[in-house]
């Protein structure tokens, strides 16, 4: 059986290999679309809009490559669209990072930079989230589990107050809320056929791959499955930022030579 094709918008602003690897790992094939006029966009049945780097640069590229209208048309067809990182940010009206560039404005909110007075900025590392609307019934969206951690790397975010959350939810959006130190921000957004995450599911281990898989299978709402290996009797700290303590493994050739000599 031929593998199902997933289309990815590529405005050539950064590395999409990891995303491609993740989708291929899940058993799909990837086709990149580099211009909105590409007929492949009409044929796409699952479309991903990943973004890295600067908001203004990304959105300008997105506009220059004629993606605005075809993507809006795509959204109207009801076929699934998944934005990642700056891809999510593109759905908002704009960003403090590049005030002269307008986003798509699906959500009327300006992105702003995290306040670095109580934490490191950029927000780099593994953080958790909650989907209040579903979590209270033991359910969640696209396998985003409240006891899992997801990889974030960004300086700008949809930083929101409780009243803004309520307002955006009243417009039909389902929201995953993240918290970085004292600031609440939108970790993921979902409405009808649109889904987007601020974090990188393709860099978030198996927990992240599950989210991509749920999107590709369109398993939107499901019960939370608890990761039994996270159970513990020990009282676990609350970190000041919400981020986990990162453990990095390093492969160093100099080390290798050292040990092979002994």
């Amino acid at each position: 059986m031929a593998k199902e094709i997933v289309h990815i918008i590529d405005v050539e602003s950064g590395n999409l290999r990891s995303l491609q690897n993740a989708i291929e790992y899940l058993g799909y094939e990837v086709t990149f679309i580099k211009d909105g006029s590409d007929p492949a966009l009409q044929e796409a049945s699952k479309l991903i809009l990943p973004g890295v780097g600067n908001f203004g640069h990304f959105v300008k590229q997105f506009r220059q490559r004629n993606f605005v209208e075809p993507v809006q048309e795509y959204i109207k067809t009801g076929k699934p669209l998944f934005g990642i990182c700056v891809g999510l940010q593109t759905f908002f009206s704009g960003s403090e990072e590049s005030k002269d560039v307008d986003g798509l404005g699906l959500i009327d909110l300006q992105l702003s930079k995290f306040d670095d007075s109580d934490k490191s900025v950029p927000h780099i590392g593994w953080n958790s989230l909650s989907v209040p609307k579903y979590n209270k019934d033991g359910k969640t969206l696209y396998s985003m589990y409240p006891d899992s951690y997801y990889y974030f790397v960004h300086s700008y975010a949809a930083v929101v107050s409780d009243s803004q959350i309520a307002k955006i939810e009243s417009q039909g959006w389902d929201l995953a809320i993240g918290q970085y130190a004292s600031e609440k921000f939108l970790a993921a957004i979902s409405k009808d056929n649109i889904f987007a995450t601020q974090f990188h599911p393709e860099k978030s281990g198996l927990a992240g791959l599950k989210i991509i898989q749920s999107f590709l299978k369109q398993d939107k709402v499901g019960f939370i499955k608890t990761n039994s290996s996270t159970k513990t009797d020990v009282k676990i700290e609350t970190t000041p930022t919400g981020l986990t303590r990162r453990v990095i493994a390093c492969l160093d050739r100099n080390q290798k030579e050292e040990t092979s000599e002994t």
Partner: protein
């Protein structure tokens, strides 16, 4: 190897000095193949360090540091780590009367790929002073006095694995590099490197007070308790281990399990899709 670490639960995998470019064109660098392969199965961030600088291929073609970095990013790297060129950049910044040139790899790469893609790797070495007034570098009062009972110390930046000592403080270097566009500090320590005796907390706290970007503690990790200690005694954002994992003495999972048993918040990934 990278996949093994990923499966053990590493939050990030860093490759250092895997390739030197002396004999082959950069486009054929073995590191690129290592990365491409690792990126197929490791779904956590990958960082590459060593050789991110302006290079000249054997046929005379000049390749800029930005182009070298681009090759790495396209192969699947999320960040590049800049070592000796960070020292060069900071030295020319000072020589320039504290002005950025716009041409250093830190600046060109962070402008193109964002600050989060640029890690600076710093190799500080401790120097003692008895009289704090006689020192132009940012000083700390140390709990580990020097050989003559000196109560103060600072850290100088080194390169070439500690062999070359620069007239530049690690504190000052990190501040300059943050201004130039570094997004994270990989903080080694020449005095601790390979010692398996634990991290240098005083150094880590000093650098944390210098910058607002995340700091990765490195050098000195030999057993799981060292990871607990570094997170309980400093504000390090991450801690790195190399030899202890490479020699197979401990797995990343051992470290994370230990940390969790001691109340630290760590990521435990799902075990299956």
């Amino acid at each position: 190897m990278a996949e093994k670490y990923y499966k053990q639960g590493a939050d990030e995998v860093t490759f250092l000095n895997i390739t030197s470019f002396r004999n082959s064109p950069i486009r054929d660098a073995p590191m690129l193949d290592v990365l491409k392969l690792a990126a197929k199965t490791c779904f956590v961030p990958l960082t590459v360090g060593g050789g991110i600088k302006d290079v000249v291929d054997p046929d005379g073609t000049k390749v800029s540091a930005l182009e070298v970095a681009s090759l790495y990013f396209r192969a699947g790297a999320d960040k590049v780590s800049i070592g000796s060129d960070a020292v060069n950049a900071a030295e020319s910044y000072i020589a320039n009367g504290n002005a950025a040139s716009g041409t250093t790899p830190i600046e060109t790469i962070s402008k193109a790929y964002g600050v989060q893609a640029v890690v600076i790797s710093v190799d500080p070495k401790r120097f003692y002073v008895s009289d704090p007034k006689q020192c132009k570098y940012n000083l700390i009062e140390t709990k580990v006095p020097g050989p003559q009972g000196e109560k103060y110390c600072y850290y100088k930046v080194t390169s070439q694995g500690g062999r070359k000592v620069h007239d530049l403080g690690a504190f000052e270097l990190c501040q300059i590099c943050e201004k130039l566009g570094a997004g994270e500090v990989l903080l080694n320590c020449i005095d601790k490197d390979g010692s398996n005796s634990g991290y240098d907390f005083e150094l880590i706290n000093q650098i944390k007070s210098a910058v607002s970007i995340p700091v990765i503690a490195s050098s000195g990790a030999g057993k799981p308790v060292h990871f607990e200690e570094v997170f309980k005694n400093t504000k390090a954002d991450a801690a790195l281990g190399a030899g202890m994992f490479h020699r197979g003495e401990y797995t990343v999972k051992d470290v994370k399990t230990y940390m969790r048993e001691h109340g630290l918040l760590v990521r435990i990934d799902d075990t299956q899709l």
